[in-house]
């Protein structure tokens, strides 16, 4: 399987790496029109980052709930199968969904010695760092998505004892297919519980890494247009 197969006649790396860099160049040379065009996009993205952060927080509460239930189950000698796996999935979801949000709030740490020399380095070293980070994050997202698809194709199942209801799988699958297929999808769903297919908990990984990559490219564009990125509050908390 070629990881960078052509899409619409352009290899995938062209879409993922070259195109954003070209957009960044355009942003730098045509600052005013780019700003006009992108302002509504920014408003939308800012809400998306926050929503993703809130979702991550919800998964943190879910970790707490799972662990409390697990303790209660143990004390009352009821078995709660797969609790550790579920807590692990929630852990992954917490981390991945929060990446972009944490980035924009300045929580991810970096060595900022060069950055703090003067205003010139503050802008250009930052632009360079964001570019490298964006390329890395895009690569990360590309393979996260690939792994996610492979898990689905190979019908990879959990190693643990955790099970999920079939309707949940069908519900999530709805978002991955056209509404015309929904009838067929639901027709085959039973009321059984099945061992968790790995693609389900891996979804947050795909979505979270994609959003992180978008957030980094977004920050690069904003830095080149406005002279400052969207990363606010890099104070130690």
């Amino acid at each position: 399987m070629n990881d960078w197969a052509s899409v619409l006649g352009v290899p995938l790396w062209g879409w993922l790496f070259v195109l954003p860099i070209m957009v960044a160049a355009l942003c730098y040379f045509f600052q005013a029109p780019a700003k006009r065009l992108l302002t509504p996009v920014w408003r939308f993205l800012d809400r998306l980052y926050l929503a993703s952060g809130a979702l991550a927080a919800a998964f943190m509460v879910i970790i707490l709930v799972i662990i409390v239930l697990q303790m209660i189950a143990r004390w009352s000698s009821i078995s709660f199968q797969g609790s550790t796996e579920f807590a692990g999935y929630a852990m992954a979801a917490t981390s991945f969904f929060a990446f972009a949000y944490a980035l924009n709030r300045g929580s991810h740490i970096r060595v900022s010695i060069l950055l703090n020399i003067n205003n010139f380095t503050r802008k250009w070293v930052d632009a360079y760092a964001i570019l490298i980070a964006a390329v890395t994050a895009t690569y990360f997202a590309r393979y996260a998505v690939k792994t996610n698809f492979m898990s689905e194709i190979l019908n990879d199942r959990t190693q643990g004892q955790d099970q999920v209801p079939e309707w949940l799988l069908a519900f999530v699958s709805m978002f991955g297919t056209w509404p015309t297929n929904w009838g067929e999808l639901w027709a085959t769903v039973g009321s059984e519980w099945v061992y968790t297919p790995v693609w389900l908990p891996q979804l947050p990984m795909s979505l979270g890494t994609i959003l992180l990559a978008i957030a980094l490219w977004d920050n690069l564009f904003r830095l080149l247009i406005n002279g400052e990125s969207n990363i606010k509050g890099e104070a130690v908390e």
Partner: protein, 434 residues
């Protein structure tokens, strides 16, 4: 020879990426990718995601966000005021007076929080203005606080120890237990320093505090009782084997929510602020751990860790000499990096080395924390210095100067740990209920 060549390339790419201010987690991924592409024929991207997914969805890691959340909740309660008010009546009797509230406050808050920045802020918010008002010398206020706040990393729960335990696959409960006595010894060293100051610099002593009756003292410190109960529940449940580290963390979160409710400081704002803050911090650490997991995979393929371990073996270094070398190494590294990153960055190399040399890994975790703590108060990069700068508006260089005696005491602590390793290893070997 390939190993030498590979090492040089790894180091070069690593410093290039970290130096150009790429976020640490992503920089580590970049280095690992270069290593995979150059030295192996394995598909780098697929191997990367497999490793990262396994690590990111692991059960042991769930202790991390919960302990962070617990600290975040308490950080937003009235605990800051209560710590000072509750501890002051007891500390005023000691030679050195209220300066001891810095140490005792940090020790106590360290037992509910895993971060030294949070410890520093919580204790300092109240103690700096109060101590200034009473005329204690500025250098003692700042210095003792900078030093004592590092206890946050050592006394359980400790984020650094969780990260260390996850990285090398060791029991987090054992590491937590190992941190207790060394943490208490270190805080006694700090207190001894304050007592020494009291007798050596008589002219700097402020007016003695008015005396208080026992009843008044108890009345003032009644707010601390719930915190103490929380501390003993969390640590005790791990010690007696009632709960795993993750479960103890869950109990801690519920306990601190209850505490905040009793104090009437639990509003929707503080709740969501604590939750979102914990989410951000935990995501930050998760990203670094992912980068580090991929990097150790890549380094494993190149054979560098094994080669280095056997090289150390042929040198016939005594464990003591190895520890001395590593101390210097981590101190230098800590001058440019924060503690967590330097742990995850180096463990792939250092773990085989210490296992080869026959050093106890639990003990090594505690040693590592002390050295890293020391690096937190040495310039140019020291998190505690940054936090204190934000709080007091002093220059970094001034704050670093006031902390020099503390650095000395922490290095003394390293020596103590080497001479009496039982300090760290005795408690974890005697955990109940195993």
């Amino acid at each position: 020879m390939t190993e030498l060549y590979a090492t040089a390339i790894f180091l070069f790419v690593l410093f290039a990426l970290l130096g150009s201010s790429v976020w640490i987690g992503l920089a580590l991924m970049g280095v690992a990718w270069v290593g995979m592409e150059l030295f192996t024929s394995r598909p780098a991207g697929d191997a990367m995601i497999t490793t990262i997914w396994t690590g990111a969805s692991s059960w042991t890691l769930t202790a991390l966000p919960l302990f962070i959340w617990m600290g975040e909740i308490l950080f937003r309660t009235r605990l800051s005021q209560d710590l000072f008010r509750g501890l002051a009546p007891w500390m005023r009797m000691l030679p050195g007076g209220l300066l001891h509230t810095n140490i005792a406050g940090c020790t106590l808050f360290a037992a509910v929080s895993g971060s030294s920045a949070a410890t520093l802020t919580t204790v300092g918010k109240m103690s700096i203005p109060e101590l200034r008002k009473r005329g204690y010398p500025e250098y003692m206020i700042i210095g003792t606080l900078a030093g004592a706040a590092t206890l946050g990393l050592m006394i359980p729960p400790s984020l650094t120890l969780i990260v260390y335990g996850v990285t090398i696959n060791e029991s987090i409960t054992k590491l937590f237990m190992a941190g207790i006595f060394p943490g208490l010894v270190l805080s006694s060293l700090f207190m001894a320093y304050i007592i020494g100051w009291h007798y050596l610099r008589k002219d700097e002593r402020p007016e003695p505090e008015p005396s208080m009756t026992f009843a008044e003292m108890f009345k003032e410190s009644r707010f601390l009782i719930p915190v103490m109960v929380l501390v003993f529940t969390v640590i005790g449940s791990m010690y007696f084997g009632w709960a795993t580290a993750t479960e103890a963390a869950a109990v801690g979160v519920l306990g601190s929510l209850a505490l905040a409710t009793i104090q009437r400081s639990l509003t929707w704002e503080t709740f969501s602020a604590s939750l979102m803050g914990a989410t951000r911090t935990s995501a930050m650490i998760a990203l670094i751990l992912m980068g580090a997991a991929f990097l150790s995979l890549a380094m494993g393929f190149t054979g560098i860790p094994r080669a280095l371990a056997s090289w150390i073996d042929t040198m016939n270094l005594s464990p003591i000499a190895l520890i001395a070398v590593l101390t210097v190494f981590y101190l230098v590294l800590g001058m440019f990096m924060d503690g967590l990153s330097s742990v995850v960055l180096t463990m792939a190399i250092v773990e085989p080395m210490i296992r080869q040399a026959g050093i106890d890994v639990i003990w090594f975790g505690i040693f590592l924390v002390v050295v890293i703590e020391t690096a937190q108060v040495t310039p140019p990069v020291g998190f505690n210095l940054f936090v204190l700068q934000g709080m007091t508006q002093h220059e970094i260089s001034y704050i670093a100067k006031t902390a020099i005696p503390m650095v000395g005491l922490m290095l003394l602590m390293v020596v103590i740990l080497v001479v009496w390793p039982e300090l760290a290893t005795w408690l974890p070997e005697n955990i109940r209920g195993q």
